[in-house]
Symmetry: C2
Subunit: 164 residues, 2 copies
DNA sequence: TTGACCACTTGCGAGTTGCAAGTGGTTGAA
DNA sequence: TTCAACCACTTGCAACTCGCAAGTGGTCAA
């Protein structure tokens, strides 16, 4: 990817950071799937990301300040990836992408449940989710509400029963 | 670009349609710059899109149902591109991209004015803008408010005086 | 000690990007 | 009627990127 500064337009600059076919997929998996290591991201990938592409994107996203990497205290070679505040602020963008995709593509029912909930909940739900991500990734206090658990429960309910 | 269906996730499917470095740039220029022909898009491109890439993306976006192409009644070889309803519904997504880029990248002042206005106006402004795009591109009635003119005036004011 | 695990890295063929130049029909002025 | 400018692309090509498959070297648990 040529990551040169083509123009100073904020939409363009967002595209230059995230406008490829994998970066946002990785952030989505860390954010909604709470996958925190290379192995979890590689094995759990719905889209089947290749190992070299994953390594490249983790490197790029870390350098860009969207992910932070630290050692696992319990396991010398394992490294834990966390979302940074800029990445957490992508929640509204990902919610809009999910909402658009739900309306204008043919997504699978099960994988749309989270997008639907995020759309219905709107900005207040996004804010609650962002607070929870700050707890999970930045060490902030645990908020009262767990949007993550709500999304997960809805997803699991949808996968338990086949789409009707 | 391999445009295969990697998964049924709505975020992924949105990325598969728009997740490259040029598609959204083209839509942005049609939407906010009201560039309606190949030549206008090529000449006016802030980012300097190459002619073959532009031709490829116009073809792809038309096939994907995001742009519509029709002949210009006044000029046999000129073709006019319009946004379709799905593309108009990208307004909230582009607004969020602009908002994120404004906060987390170093955009130029002049090119950030529109993003700032869209962010301040929020969903009501987006809705008004979408109504106006339906007028400009789909032949709907002209709405009372012209968000397009407001954005354009703010942009021109910002370019007239250098950033302070 | 040994086999599994972990986070990548390497090799390579196929595909994509983007610069520069070219194509062929259309328009408008002389 | 001629012809240069315009219009929407195409083509050629070198450089780069993608993604599959296999490999690397350190670490952990039994």
């Amino acid at each position: 990817m040529p990551r040169t500064r083509r123009s100073g337009c904020p939409i363009n600059l967002t595209l230059e950071q995230l406008g490829d076919r994998w970066s946002l997929i990785v952030i989505r998996d860390v954010m909604f799937g709470n996958r925190r290591t290379y192995g979890e991201l590689l094995e759990g990938s719905e889209e089947g990301i290749a190992s070299n592409i994953l390594a490249d994107r983790l490197e790029w996203l870390t350098a860009a300040g969207l992910l932070a990497r630290r050692a696992d205290p319990d396991h010398a070679q394992r490294r834990i990836y966390s979302l940074t505040e800029p990445a957490i602020q992508l929640v509204p963008l990902l919610a809009q992408m999910g909402a658009w995709g739900r309306r204008h593509t043919r997504p699978s029912k099960a994988l749309s449940v989270r997008a639907e909930l995020l759309e219905q909940g709107g900005p207040p739900l996004w804010a609650a989710f962002m607070d929870e991500l700050r707890h999970l990734h930045l060490g902030a206090a645990r908020p009262a509400r767990s949007v993550f658990a709500e999304l997960q429960a809805a997803f699991e309910k949808a996968t338990a029963r086949p789409a009707r």
